[in-house]
């Protein structure tokens, strides 16, 4: 378990100017979690994650890992403790003058040559690049480099893996592969994974819980599904919005696009799923039950933390009162309804 309490870290850029990189952050990450820390660039995420293995020593606060206060360890003890906390980076940080084998062997100590070789081979098989042990990093693709970095981070059988923007330098397809590997490692070894990212896709894909950071503070924490379906803080809302196609509707309305043109008597509304169990055929059912037309303009539904999330933008046309009943039906079904345009003639 990782327990951060009241972490404060300031950087002194000039004599009298200091930047609050991390400003009184408390956070608990349970064993076996895949925990996301999201935020825009400069929010303090990277500094915060470096406070876990004390690559950055907090100015004040407490860092406990499995109950041990890291801040009070002697240097030797700290070096030892760090071997049990793996870390991977955006730029991979492999040693260019060493082969893959030598890179992965870097953190291994007190083993014979043969033992090292065997351990490295096991690790490379685990990350699915068993045939690259004699290659130099410059001969590898980005995805392969990150796999080597993961193998190296796992060399001392750590219980925690810190990922600092680990997929931000990779293309979407390679990102998917690396994330799948992280998921597998979590499942196989119960590895606790802390994922720092500005890419919401990454959090959606692998995290169960997440914290949202802005200006050095944690502004929202919770299950990833909750954060995505009902973000509370404006920054979180903004973040979630950037990843959803449904927010495009606002631009379309502003631009007066023909596809969002509403005829007299029609209502355009956004339906957002906020419960995790949407499985009924809501559109076709309402259409039949209330005898109205429901035309889907835009839809964006995806899977987050093994649940559906998203919604649709629809145009209702038909009898005014029936439209109201349909909307009420959706509200009863726990769907958030936002009327975007109402072109009904008010009596």
């Amino acid at each position: 378990m990782i327990e951060l309490e009241h972490i404060v870290k300031n950087f002194h850029a000039d004599k009298d100017k200091s930047i609050h990189a991390v400003d009184d952050v408390s956070l608990t990450i349970n064993d076996g979690d895949i925990y996301g820390i999201i935020g825009f660039s400069g929010a303090g995420k990277s500094t915060l994650v470096r406070c876990i293995n004390l690559l950055e020593r907090p100015d004040s606060g407490s860092v406990k890992i499995d109950g041990v206060e890291m801040m009070s360890l002697k240097p030797r003890e700290l070096y030892k403790a760090r071997t049990k906390i793996g870390m991977i980076f955006q730029q991979f940080n492999l040693m260019p003058s060493r082969t893959v084998l030598q890179n992965v062997a870097y953190p291994l100590k007190g083993l014979t040559r043969d033992e090292v070789r065997q351990k490295v081979r096991e690790l490379l098989t685990l990350v699915d690049i068993p045939d690259k042990e004699n290659a130099y990093p410059s001969e590898l693709s980005g995805g392969q480099k990150q796999r080597v970095a993961i193998a190296r981070a796992l060399a001392n059988d750590p219980t925690i893996l810190l990922c600092d923007e680990a997929t931000s330098a990779l293309d979407p397809q390679t990102t998917g592969g690396v994330l799948q590997l992280l998921k597998d490692l979590n499942k196989k070894f119960g590895l606790t994974i802390v994922v720092i990212t500005h890419e919401m896709e990454v959090v959606k894909n692998i995290c169960r819980k997440a914290a949202v950071m802005d200006a050095g503070k944690i502004i929202e924490t919770g299950d990833v599904f909750e954060i995505f379906s009902s973000p509370k803080h404006p920054v979180t809302k903004n973040f979630v919005r950037t990843t959803s196609n449904l927010s495009k509707i606002e631009t379309l309305i502003k631009d007066n696009s023909p596809i969002v043109k509403v005829e007299t008597g029609q209502v355009m509304a956004r339906l957002v799923y906020i419960r995790a169990d949407v499985s009924e055929p809501l559109i076709s059912y309402a259409s039949r039950a209330f005898d109205i037309e429901i035309n889907i303009v835009l839809a964006d539904v995806e899977i987050v933390a093994d649940s559906m999330i998203g919604g649709t933008v629809v145009i209702f046309s038909g009898d005014s009162e029936r439209i109201d009943r349909a909307i009420q039906y959706y509200i009863d079904k726990n769907i958030r309804v936002e009327v975007l345009k109402d072109a009904r003639v008010t009596a």
Partner: protein, 222 residues
């Protein structure tokens, strides 16, 4: 040979001794400069603001001392350090007497070269090594030195070559060696064949050092 190099052929034993003296100066001072310069270059790198053993005082003091000695022309250093040379080596002339000024003249230069070679190590590598539990000393020899082997070899090459220039200059104050040989005969007595042969020897020396340096630097680049 007699006709082509009349003056040199008459003084062959002296010529060989001059070559030997130059080599001796180069090797002795070179070895000391290598060790001291490497140490100072490493200290500069790790104590620098943001370094792994950040220490403002040590960095500032060392930085200023290096700048001081780099700004003194070598010919002045040669005479200025004579008392120190007598105190340490017992003499201020011959090969023994010139080791001290050579060390003072070239160590700051080499230390700066090492500093800039180590600065090419990406910060991320250091961070990765620390995250894997390496101590600062381990980071120095397993990351900084190992990963900048090629630039360090290039720094050594450049320093050996500029040291060769300094040993020739040292000849002027009685250190012996090829510089002294060329000045006494080639210049003072206008024996041009001696000047040209000395130049040829120095040029081939520089070329060999340069070629070897480049060869080893390439072998360590991946």
């Amino acid at each position: 040979m007699q006709e082509l190099l009349p003056n040199l052929m008459k003084r062959l034993p002296e010529f060989w001794k001059a070559c030997g003296d130059t080599l001796l100066m180069e090797v002795w001072s070179g070895a000391i400069i290598f060790v001291l310069g490497l140490i100072f270059g490493i200290i500069l790198t790790v104590t620098k603001p943001g370094g792994i053993m950040e220490n403002r005082t040590i960095y500032q003091v060392l930085d200023k001392i290096i700048n001081l000695f780099r700004s003194i022309p070598f010919i002045i250093l040669l005479t200025a350090l004579m008392p120190l040379s007598r105190a340490i080596m017992g003499t201020a002339i011959y090969v023994r007497g010139v080791i001290v000024p050579l060390v003072f003249g070239a160590t700051p230069f080499f230390a700066r070269q090492v500093e800039s070679a180590l600065a090419q190590t990406e910060k991320g590598l250091v961070e990765a090594a620390l995250s894997m539990g390496s101590s600062p000393f381990e980071v120095i020899y397993r990351v900084y030195l190992r990963e900048s082997l090629a630039p360090i070899i290039r720094a050594i090459t450049i320093t050996i070559i500029s040291l060769l220039g300094l040993t020739a200059m040292a000849g002027a104050v009685g250190a012996g060696g090829l510089g002294d040989f060329a000045i006494r005969y080639g210049h003072d007595r206008n024996m041009q064949d001696i000047t040209w042969v000395v130049v040829a020897v120095l040029v081939s020396g520089v070329s060999i050092v340069q070629w070897l340096g480049e060869y080893f630097a390439r072998r360590n680049t991946h």
